[in-house]
């Protein structure tokens, strides 16, 4: 609908670029679709304030109740701030029909997630006791003995993870090898929080990842494949992020996008898996 008014200035680059641009311009999108894509992202990735506003501003009916987003956000915040105990408690509260002493369904179904959470809790305990000189390492050891040790033998990966985690106690914090340093990196909290989010969504019967994420991955995948097949596509596919704000950041953002598409092997890999599963 809005496509007809978008007369982009023709690019100054090669004909390939123009041809590709033209094709891109011909694609029809509707604002409604894009709006729903954004709404889906706001809900799935847990931005309740924005979701509420967006529902009003874009005139979209919120089909998910905000309360359920808040629950996920609270769990995410707990994990982000290192309070794994609270996060596990909240996860348990998500299913009121389960009694407190029963094993939580979500974590029960997903042993590796449960172990990852417990390990993160151990890491936080170790972080606490190593942050002060002569900190008491007893709580960490006790936790490892009681919670992780019984679960570790069920899976060789668990065992390895636990051993690596416990070696954090041995090395001084500022002289960690990169492999161990990543354990103390907040990136791990982020990663676990994302996994928990997905598990909750899946448990509630919703899509576990935002459509936007899928779209981003598809684009990365398609660009890679197209380049592999030596298709006529421009060297750089600019999507125009931030280009309006600063000329010299233009190329920077190219790199960002390219970096996340070509440079990051992980994304491409997950991509492959995802697309395959979509095909089957």
């Amino acid at each position: 609908m809005s496509a007809n008014i978008m007369s982009r200035t023709p690019s100054t680059a090669t004909p390939v670029w123009n041809q590709f641009e033209r094709k891109v311009d011909e694609v029809k999108t509707t604002k409604t679709d894009i709006n729903h894509l954004v709404m889906d992202y706001l809900i799935t990735n847990g931005y309740p304030g924005a979701a509420k506003r967006f529902a009003a501003e874009a005139n979209i009916q919120l089909k998910t109740d905000l309360e359920s987003i808040h629950e996920r956000v609270e769990i995410r915040s707990a994990i982000y701030s290192g309070d794994i105990k609270l996060a596990i408690e909240k996860l348990n509260e998500l299913n009121p029909e389960c009694k407190a002493n029963e094993i939580n369904q979500i974590l029960d179904q997903n042993q590796s997630l449960h172990f990852a959470l417990l390990r993160l809790q151990l890491i936080e305990l170790i972080r606490t006791c190593t942050s002060v000189p002569n900190g008491d390492i007893k709580p960490a050891l006790e936790f490892a003995t009681l919670q992780l040790a019984p679960r570790a033998p069920t899976n060789p990966q668990f065992l390895e993870d636990m051993e690596r985690t416990l070696s954090l106690l041995i090395f001084p914090k500022d002289q960690l090898v990169p492999g161990l340093a990543t354990l103390l990196d907040p990136g791990l909290r982020k990663e676990i929080a994302a996994r928990v989010n997905e598990a909750i969504l899946e448990h509630q019967g919703a899509r576990k990842e935002a459509r936007l994420r899928h779209l981003v991955k598809t684009r990365a995948f398609a660009e890679n494949k197209a380049r592999e097949a030596k298709k006529d596509i421009p060297d750089k596919l600019d999507i125009g992020l931030l280009s309006e704000t600063h000329d010299s950041t233009h190329s920077r953002n190219n790199n960002h996008v390219n970096g996340s598409t070509n440079g990051n092997g992980d994304i491409v890999m997950t991509n492959n898996g995802d697309v395959d599963s979509m095909m089957s």
Partner: protein, 713 residues
Amino acid sequence: MTDLPPGGARGAPTYTSPGRRSSYASVVSGTAFSPPISNSLTNILNDSPSYPPSSSPDGRPRRTLSGADADMQSISISRNMTSADAVPPESRRYCAWAASDSEINFSVSESSSSFTPSYLIGSAYIEGLEEAQRAKLVAQHREANGSSTATSNPPLSTSSSNIHLPRMAPSHRGMTYDIIEKEPPLASDQPMPLPSQWSADDGKDVLEITGNAVRYTGPLHKTDHEAAAVRADHPMPAQCGIYYFEVRIEAKPYHGYVPPSAYFGPQRTPRFVYLQFAYKRRFSMVAIGFSSTKASLERLPGWETESWAYHGDDGKSFFGESQGQGRTYGPQFTVGDIIGCGVNFHTREAFFTKNGIFLGVAFTNIPDIPLFPSVGLKRQPPVYLVTNFGRDKFCFDIDKMVKPPLNEASLMQELVAQFLAHDGYVETARAFAEDVAAEAASLQSGNAAPLNQYEVEEDHDAIRRNRKYTFFLSEEDSKQCLEIRSAILDGNIDKALKLTTAHYESVLEAQPQIQFKLRCRKFIEMMRNVQDLTEAMNDSKAEANLRSRPASPNNENAIFDQEMELDGSENMGGVKLEPEDLKMDTDGDVPSPTVARFNELLTEAVQYGQRLRLDYNSGGEGVDLKMLDEVFSLVCYADPKSSIHGHYLDSEGRVAVAEELNSAILVSLGKSSEAALERLYRQTEVLVKEISDGGPGAFINVRNDLAWQRDSE
């Protein structure tokens, strides 16, 4: 380059030999160690994803050396002088500036911001700084035009343009002293300028300081252990998040002139190898770090209170409170090494790099006081420190540290933030920025040890970007766009038309199809009102039917007549009202005011429809006659909503019109009409199509990603 023995006080008369001067000129004019212009600009503009540290395999940087083009320097001086003399005095300052900086080739218009370190490009801090400097430049222009004595009376402000004043007179060292002063910090609301060179009045007696090069020239009678330090002209601004600078340690040959090519590059002379060996044997007694003004400059930074530094001779890190007891930190360093020092004001930590390699955090809990980049050196072994405050590309990839490439999560965040701002969802954009900030904050609020600095910085950056997007449109335009949008979404097309005409008149003129659609929408909204009333009446009729039916024939007839009349007069485009249906609708115990209102609305709608028909009957640009007919046909149905054209009545249609108008306004404001997210979507679809022919893309349907309707949301 010159072969004068070290020692002798600065400014001593014996030092005014031409060769000596030319060395200053070279340093000052930027030949000293700036790479050629093409490089320095490319560095800033083309930020390659990961550039290798700019050093040759043996770890030595491939850069033009301070001694470069010694014979050319006198030329550059004379050129400076002539160009400055040839122009009227009021513009002389700028000329001198431009000429002396010609190797760097920053245009005069940007002269006020002498340089922006690559890692700070686009940051909020630099924007603020540039703004302040632009204002200052304007003020200076005015001042210069007003009085011809402007050049001889430079304003004593902290504008970094002043910093370049010494370049006017490369051969006159005294003047350098006069002009450069230890400038007081600006008022807190004004951004602090970046450090750009060493403060020339530091270490007066023993150091030779020229711009960003320092060497020890203390008197001969002092012992070899004598040390001195120097601080930069400005403190490191905490607002920029991370501050980073690099120092290259160079050997100055003791005797005789060694051509610059001997230092670096493939054809090193055996003699150089010998020299290199001689210097390598002793690690440089050089300290690189930062200090407050409290720290004495008589000793190396790190040994004084409120100073922090990494020492080359033992590789230890020292800070004031450590009482000279260094902590084992990194490798030793010496001639040929490039040492970087960075302060993360977010985590209050400092780190160092050596030849582009990150050495880890050296200091934590750095107090919140003005801290100046500082270097200190001893007389022996003699070295020469050249500092890169960000004018040139850094050896260490600081850009990546400050702005790591977007990972998937932040890419999505940015896409959404930009979309919201772009499409004028101002409130949502604000709420989103808050949500993202809250998310980032919760990651930092851990009770535990300080978190990894890169992560924090990255999030910080994301928040900043979101804020920026919020004000992507000017405050005024965002407000207007928002108001117009909400008017349409409320069905108040008149208000939207009025606002658009008032503020963006050209939009409706240039894009008649939008005006057409808006007017059609107005008609539809009128029909919606009719429909709503019909439904209300049906409801009350149903209610009434439950009760006994005290039908009043009079009333009914009156209505009927009215409808007949309506039918007779409103015969438009073959569209006929159906009096029977209307009569049926009113066939209950409906209070007459409602009926009257109904008629009023219907009449209004039909009249508006007639006017539309009149205006657009002949077609014209952007007019969709089919749509017009379909919209008019709504009048024929008793229950237009369930008719085949009932979809026009959906409130969904408001969104489409609102978005289209919004896009048109954005285009008229010169903004890209398309959000990055939308572009990404289109590109994806084309890319998938490219690989579809029997390829891996054949099974992907991008549209399914957007198939929100079919999905249980």
